[in-house]
């Protein structure tokens, strides 16, 4: 019998850009939603959540060891996907990281936190 269990994945998309702390244009939220729905049906959320610095959300991106904590708002999305699609989600989030001007993206897979570092070669949404 096929194992129907799916890891629940939760990720955060900050509401402002890393570089200039400005909000994102509408087109980016639309591209993200289109990409998520194309890849994973059954997405739930988003909800707006607040995290303060690096303590509130373990594993989330933080400015740096010597830098002050950053108070930030993010959109939190949740999706339950087959285990073999988790890498696809990671790749999508890295692309989203570039588009949303983030140095890292926070992801939880089945309760385990990950900080996805974003590189320019990961591409864009």
């Amino acid at each position: 019998m096929r194992d129907e269990r799916r890891p629940v994945c939760t990720f955060l998309v900050p509401l402002v850009r890393d570089s200039d702390r400005q909000p994102h244009p509408p087109v980016l939220w639309r591209l993200l939603q289109d990409a998520l729905l194309d890849a994973f049906a059954g997405l739930s959320g988003p909800e707006t959540v607040m995290y303060v610095g690096r303590e509130a959300v373990e594993g989330a991106w933080f400015p740096g060891i010597d830098e002050a904590p950053v108070e930030d708002q993010s959109r939190k999305y949740t999706v339950a996907i087959p285990e073999e699609q988790v890498d696809e989600l990671r790749a999508l989030l890295r692309r989203a990281g570039n588009s949303f001007d983030q140095r890292a993206m926070y992801l939880e897979v089945a309760g385990y936190a990950e900080c996805l570092e974003v590189q320019s070669e990961d591409g864009y949404l």
């Binding site: 994102h24 244009p25 939220w29 639309r30 289109d34 729905l37 049906a41 707006t48 864009y124």
Partner: protein, 181 residues
């Protein structure tokens, strides 16, 4: 149809409530909506009139849209995305639309996909992605050429006009006719 005649026809349709106009001026034909879609939009409009928090509204309509099993190229989907963007802008969570939003919408409307647009016009897809992500810019000359290719023109608008065009209230007005028919 000549551009002027087409625009005049679209303007009449907007006035009659037969099309929905997005923030970027894209028109979505509402004449062929089913009864279920009209009922859905009426419910969306009622929810929207409460001016819910941006993300809450997003989660609300997305859940219901997923239940409907309509395709995401449905005008209903694009209208809800547009309504959500208007709320985000009004609540200070989303930036006001700039040329990138217009460009992305025109590309989708005229070419269906960025891939097809880039293939047919020779635009580098990586560069276009970076532009849409505000990580790169187009020169004015390139932008003029692309926009012309898309059957549009560059204009300068006053900020208050842009704010008025993208306001949630404008969308509620636009949906009044379809929701009541």
């Amino acid at each position: 149809m000549a551009t002027f005649e087409r625009l005049a026809s679209e303007r009449k349709s907007i006035v009659k409530g037969l099309v929905y106009e997005t923030i970027t001026g894209r028109t979505l034909d509402l004449r062929d909506l089913s009864g279920r879609e009209r009922t859905f939009l009426a419910a969306v409009r009622e929810k929207y009139r409460e001016k819910p928090e941006w993300s809450r509204f997003s989660a609300w309509w997305t859940d219901r849209f997923n239940d409907s099993e309509w395709e995401d190229d449905s005008p209903v989907f694009r209208i809800c995305q547009d309504l959500e963007a208007r709320l985000g802008i009004a609540q200070g969570k989303v930036a006001a639309p700039d040329y990138r939003d217009y460009l992305a919408d025109l590309i989708e409307e005229r070419y269906g996909s960025r891939y097809r647009f880039c293939k047919e016009t020779g635009v580098d897809p990586g560069h276009l992605s970076r532009v849409l992500a505000s990580r790169s810019e187009l020169s004015l000359r390139t932008l003029q050429s692309l926009v012309q290719n898309l059957g549009a023109a560059l204009i300068i608008q006053r900020q208050d006009t842009v704010a008025q065009t993208s306001s949630p209230d404008r969308a509620i007005e636009r949906l009044a006719t379809v929701a009541s028919s």
